[in-house]
Every structure is written in C-alpha cells, then in structure tokens.
Symmetry: C2
C-alpha cells in the first residue's frame, strides 16, 4: 500500500510556517503501522495543485491532503482536486447543513464566503468538521483515495482521528498492529540517552527503540509489531495490551535511565506533577521571575489543575518580589535578584501567600541581554518550599534562545518539585 501526504498553502512554500501537520500525520500513520512513502507541499494555485494531485493519484493508494479549505479566494484545494479528477465543484447540501449546524451553535450567521466552503468536487464524500467551519472531503481519483482536511492543526487532528483513522484501521484490518510504550526523560541529552540504551537491540530484538526530542524532554518510544486480531485495534497503546516482553523491556530501559525518567506513560512534567499532587491531596503555589508566568501556564493547561494549583506570583520587578512575596530588601541588595537566597525567600513567600503545601520559584536571566561574567545568560536559581524545608539550586542552562531558555528553566523547576513530591510506589 503506497501512501502520501500533501500539504497545500503559500504559507508553507514562503517559509512563513513550519509544516507540523505533515509531521503529525506521519507519526499517526507510523503508529498505525503504515509508513508514508512521500510528503509534498504545493502553493495555493489551482493548476499546480491539480498537477500534483494527478501525479499522486497515478502512483499512490491513498493520500492525505491538508489546507486550502478556507473561505477566502486563495483557498483552492477543492478546485485543484476537481481539476485532477476532471470534474467540477457543486454545492454539497450535507456540507452546507453541517456548516449551518456549526454556525448556529456558535450564534454566527453564514456568509456567502462561507458557503463557498460547501462547494466540493462532484462525487466527493463530506467529512464533518466538529471544531471549525471548513468541511473536509474524501474523493477517489484514478483508484487513489484522497482525504482532504483543513489546515488548522486542531481541526485537522480532530477530523483525522474521528473520520479518517477508523477507515484506515478497517483498511489494514487483520494486518499488523503496533504495541507502543512511551517514557519521558528529562536532564539527559539525546545522545546520552542513546548511549545508555546501547544494548537494547540485542536484548530485545523484537522491539524497535526510537527517540524524539520534545523540548526539553526526550521521549523514548518502544514499538513492537504484533499480529493484529479482529479485537485488537491496531495502533492501540500498550496500556490496553499486556505484553511480557514489552514490560521487561520497559524495566530494562528505566533501570538505565534511572531517576531521569519523568513518566512511564509518556506524560509531560506538568501532568506528572499534577498527578502526584492530586494523589497526595496537596496544593501548590509558584513564584516566577525569569519564567514570566510560563510555569503557571503549563500547570493550568492540564484540565482540573484547580484541584491543586492555588496561586502564582509573577514578580518581574524587585518591588513586587518585596511587596508581594516578602523577599527582604537586604537580600536583594546583598545578593541581587538572581541568587539562591532570593529564590528561597520567593518560594517561601509564595507558599505563605498562597496558603499551599508546596511552592516552587525561579529567578534568572533568560536573555538575550542581562548577563554578566558572574551570572551569564542562562543562569537560573530554583527555590523549593515544602512542608519540611526550603531549599534552592543554581543552574546554568543556555540554549541561545530566550523562549527556549524560559522553557528549560520552567522544566528545571518542575523537575525539582517532582522529585521532592511523595512518589507513586
């Protein structure tokens, strides 16, 4: 079975965006046991889209297309596909009805521009869009099935997962499936993770080991191909499929990565910290300087965070560190804002102000400027206040990029908290 992915849009070809849609789709297909044969991208023009779609139709069995389904005149994927299929567009009543439902749920009015989105190639089957206005469609051209999905990542993902994946699962039904196990790791470079797991292939020849940097974590992926039966949905994650060899391989891996393993089920730091806090019935406050609100933003991205997260004081100015967190002016004068002692007082102050069991704090220099020879860009002091004690550590973690430094600082703080929290057993 030959599978391709096509992404459309001037924004891809002009370099305005990085095409994360294609990467995500490749990952999804891979997990399903399907290796994509080719990726391509083409601009928002009818002729080139028609030519590329035509060429793919002649060589592939199915193709997933993203982008170009919007209401504006530069969205021409439907027209390009119609051209390749030597047909025209027609108003698709089901697509229009689906858009009307979506619009009325939102209390919006359908405009003529939106109605254009219900013009699909003749013979196409509409794919409903639950998260946006643009319906997708499925169209067979010269024996190749094209699934055309929106370019907005959240809409594309929902449509792929809900409408396309079940069909592909059926198509490859009775073939092979994958059992996948993910560990997340923090604090080791990818090359070092690879070095520590060097004997893996010899010890577990039936399991494929993969690494992926999900900055600042490394995801270690163990993939085993199994005969898929009628019941086992191919691509199911290992949790549902007990597999003794896989369990042994996970233990082998975790032993070599030791306390660097954040989660045995692929969780992020903020998800794992949230689970540990909820399990212990404890609460958290945060005091942020250089991370500027990122730690609280990460924590509150996890649904249900209000169960354990009480307060964060983002104290960028020294006056706010003093006034709100009760950091002593003497400490700031003697040591400066970026110091272990300041970090400790910030953590203790946030714990007190928030009335929580735990508090973590950051103060440092994210860059690009503000560094000194003593305290270069990348210096961060993390403070931790718990029921028993207050402590702090200094790190120098410079990636050369302000935003990445903020993420690394936030991860260092969450990791220090994670290790201090009551662990699962």
């Amino acid at each position: 079975m030959r599978v391709e992915i096509l992404s459309t849009g001037d924004e891809v070809l002009l370099g305005d965006i990085v095409d994360t849609n294609s990467a995500w789709l490749c990952g999804q297909l891979t997990e399903l046991g399907i290796r994509p044969d080719g990726l391509s991208a083409v601009g928002d023009d009818i002729d080139p889209i028609g030519q590329v779609v035509g060429a793919i139709a002649r060589r592939a069995d199915f193709c997933i297309v993203t982008g170009g389904l919007g209401p504006t005149p530069d969205d021409v994927t439907a027209l390009g596909c119609a051209r390749a299929a030597a047909t025209d567009l027609e108003l698709h009543p089901q697509a229009l009805a689906s858009m009307e439902t979506f619009f009325s749920r939102k209390g919006w009015t359908l405009t003529p521009e939106n109605e254009k989105q219900a013009m699909l190639p003749k013979g196409a089957v509409m794919l409903e869009n639950l998260h946006g206005t643009a319906p997708g469609f499925k169209l067979e051209i010269e024996g190749c099935v094209f699934y055309c999905l929106p370019g907005v990542p959240s809409e594309m993902k929902e449509m792929f997962t809900g409408r396309v994946l079940p069909e592909l699962r059926d198509k490859i039904g009775g073939r092979e499936g994958l059992v996948i196990h993910r560990l997340t790791v923090f604090g080791l470079p990818e090359a070092e993770v690879g070095r520590r797991l060097k004997g893996f292939a010899k010890a577990y020849p039936g399991i494929r080991l993969g690494f992926r940097a999900v900055f600042p974590l490394i995801e270690v992926k163990l993939v085993k191909t199994v005969k898929a039966t009628g019941n086992l949905a191919s691509g199911t994650e290992s949790c549902g499929v007990p597999d003794a060899e896989m369990a042994a391989a996970v233990t082998w891996t975790a032993d070599r990565l030791d306390h660097r393993v954040v989660s045995f089920s692929g969780l992020t730091l903020e998800q794992e910290v949230g689970n540990l806090l909820r399990r212990a019935g404890q609460t958290l406050s945060v005091a942020e300087s250089c991370t500027g609100g990122l730690i609280s933003h990460m924590i509150t991205d996890v649904p249900g965070a209000s169960d354990y997260f009480l307060f964060s004081g983002v104290t960028y100015a020294n006056s706010a560190k003093i006034g709100i967190l009760g950091v002593s002016e003497e400490t700031l004068i003697a040591h400066g804002a970026v110091h272990e002692e300041t970090a400790k007082q910030m953590a203790a102050g946030a714990r007190r102000a928030g009335g929580s069991d735990w508090a973590v704090s950051t103060t440092g220099i994210a860059g690009p400027s503000g560094g000194t020879s003593d305290k270069p860009v990348g210096t961060v002091c993390v403070g931790l206040a718990g029921p028993d004690r207050v402590s702090a550590r200094r790190f120098v973690l410079d990636t050369g990029d302000r935003e990445k430094n903020k993420h690394l600082f936030a991860a260092a703080a969450l990791e220090m908290l994670r290790r201090a929290l009551p662990q699962r057993n």
Copy 2:
C-alpha cells in the same frame, strides 16, 4: 525559474522530526525573491530518491536537497542522485581533503565510515562544510542544478548561506524581487477579513493579497513583485523600500479593517502593547485567573519586557483573589468569581499591588468542564484598570479546546488594553 526543495530521511516520514529545514529554506528563497514551486520529502532509500530526483530534474531549474550525507549506511543521497544522473560515485579528493582538515582541526581521526562521505557522484562539485563532517555537493542533471546539503540544521544553514546563496544571487541578478507588507488583525474571522477586502485585486492588480491565521490573529500579507536592481537586495521587506503603490494599498486595507488592525508591521498583540507602553513610559501589572499565567508568559516572551512589566498575580483560588488582590469576599459570594465586578476588583488590586499605571485581569471558564447555563464554558470577564478609571467587559469565546480558549481570553484582554493605551502619534 522553477525551484524545488527536497528533504530526505526516514525521520521526516516517520514523523519523528518536524522538517524545519525546508521551512527555513523556503523563507530564505522568498526573501531572495524566489518563490519555491514545490516541497517534497522521501525516505532513506536509493530507488525512491533516484526517482524523485529524476522527476524534479525534468521539471525544475534548480533544487535544494537536504539530508542523507552522513557516514552511516542509511545515508544514500549521493547514490540516489548518481542513479538519477545515470552515473556512479567516485572518491572526490577535494572532499576528502576538506574532511581531513576538519577532522585534524577537531583532533579527531578519520574513520573508513567517514571516508564514504567523500564518495560523490561523478561530475559533482564539492561544497565545503565548515561546521561538520559531511561535504555537500552540486550536480547538474538534465539541466537542473541540485545543491545537496547536510540535514543537520546548523551545517545546512551555514552551507546554504556561504556556498549556495551567493550563486543564486548571481543567477537572479537584475531579475525580480518581492516587497512584502504585513498587517495583524484581531477580532474578525478570516472570512470576514476576506469579505471586507474583496475589491483589493481590482484596486491593486499588481499586489497579491494573502491571509494567514496565526491564532488568534489573522495576518494580512501584501506582496508586490518588483524589478530588482543591482543595489536593491531582492526580497527586502517593505520598510526598506518606499513604494507609493504599496503604501496606498496598505492604507486602503487598513481603512477597511478599521480599529481591528493590531499592528501595521506584523507585530503580535504582546509586542504592540509592549511598544505602546514603552513609548508612553508606563507600566503594567496583570491579574489572571482562567488564563493561568499565559498573559504574563506572552508579555515576557518579548525581550526587554522588564522595562514595563512589573507583576502578575495568577490567582486560581478564590483565597488568593481575596488575599493577594484584595477582591472582596462579599463580591465573590454575591456574584461568583466569573463576573465583571470581580474582574474590576482583580484589575484594581493588581494595579495597586504592582504599583503600575495599568492592570488587566481575566476571570472565566476555559473548560472543558465548569460551565453552567448562565456562564457557559468560554465565558470570560476582562477587567481593565488605568490611571483614570476601572472597567470590565464580558465575552463568550468558546473554541471547544481549553488551550485555545486560554489563548483567546489572553488576546481579548491584551486587545482591550491595547485600545485603552495612548496610541502612536
């Protein structure tokens, strides 16, 4: 001139990495005034690489290839290109010498695996790699010039900038360049932006209009192709190139989008708000409930934010709203946390606690749960406290996704602040 980009590597097709190389190359070519006609990716296999390279050779004038030049057996770009050119590999003495220089500078020893990297297609011209071991090469196949560069981003970028870009500049000397102008818009759906700008093509036939959703903003891009002279670096952004027609088109566009235009130079809300605050010499504090730190995170992603940003209180718990921001318990009992009155008191409290000129606040329901019939998921109250008055507004903005709701709430708050701040001129 027809230009394509080809990226090779299983890691791209398996979805293990996002292909940022191609996006970077597209951006570089666009700035040079060259619009790439197509992107593609293919796995680490000789036959498919040979086929794709052959197909590109027949339709394009030049092509930039990345990846597959490494020392391991799965690196087969040179072999694939040789196959497409119907020739063989041969040891390239200049490539070997260049590698020897690089290795001796590092104090490393050349291994037989590395020597493989000096095997290039017959007739190829070596491109020196100053940052790594893999030499690149240039090869003409059927009139199309292929530049084959390493896959490691830093090596690829250096080789492109140092060895490829000068050649391309020569090639397009005296040809066309692009003048680009970007406006960012908030508060209108993409379809409505398109509708308002409907007469653009007629009014300015020489300028191409594009839209891009950079959630929750819409970027409107005006692109004009101009004759590039020897002096005008083609692809410079409009700021450097006064162009009366472009200036008129920007005014025409802005008139139709009215106060929805956030920035005339493509800035984000947080960048524009930062500029307005810095220009006015004023400062800002924030009080966040449902946005959970995201507003402060956005503000502090802008370098130099410490000039105007003092404090954010992320008060997830009511106790923190009362204790830290001084919200009255009576208000919380009478109206609940999600209410205009609470938002006003939060903003006033943050302004007082931070000692700033301005404060903005959010309290709402990001979901997925927590909504009621009165206050459904997506309800957010934004408070604004300034030198003269305190005000609040309620919005219902539900995208069906917790993370996107947080971003939309944060943008609504920053937009309310932006409009209240002293404007330019």
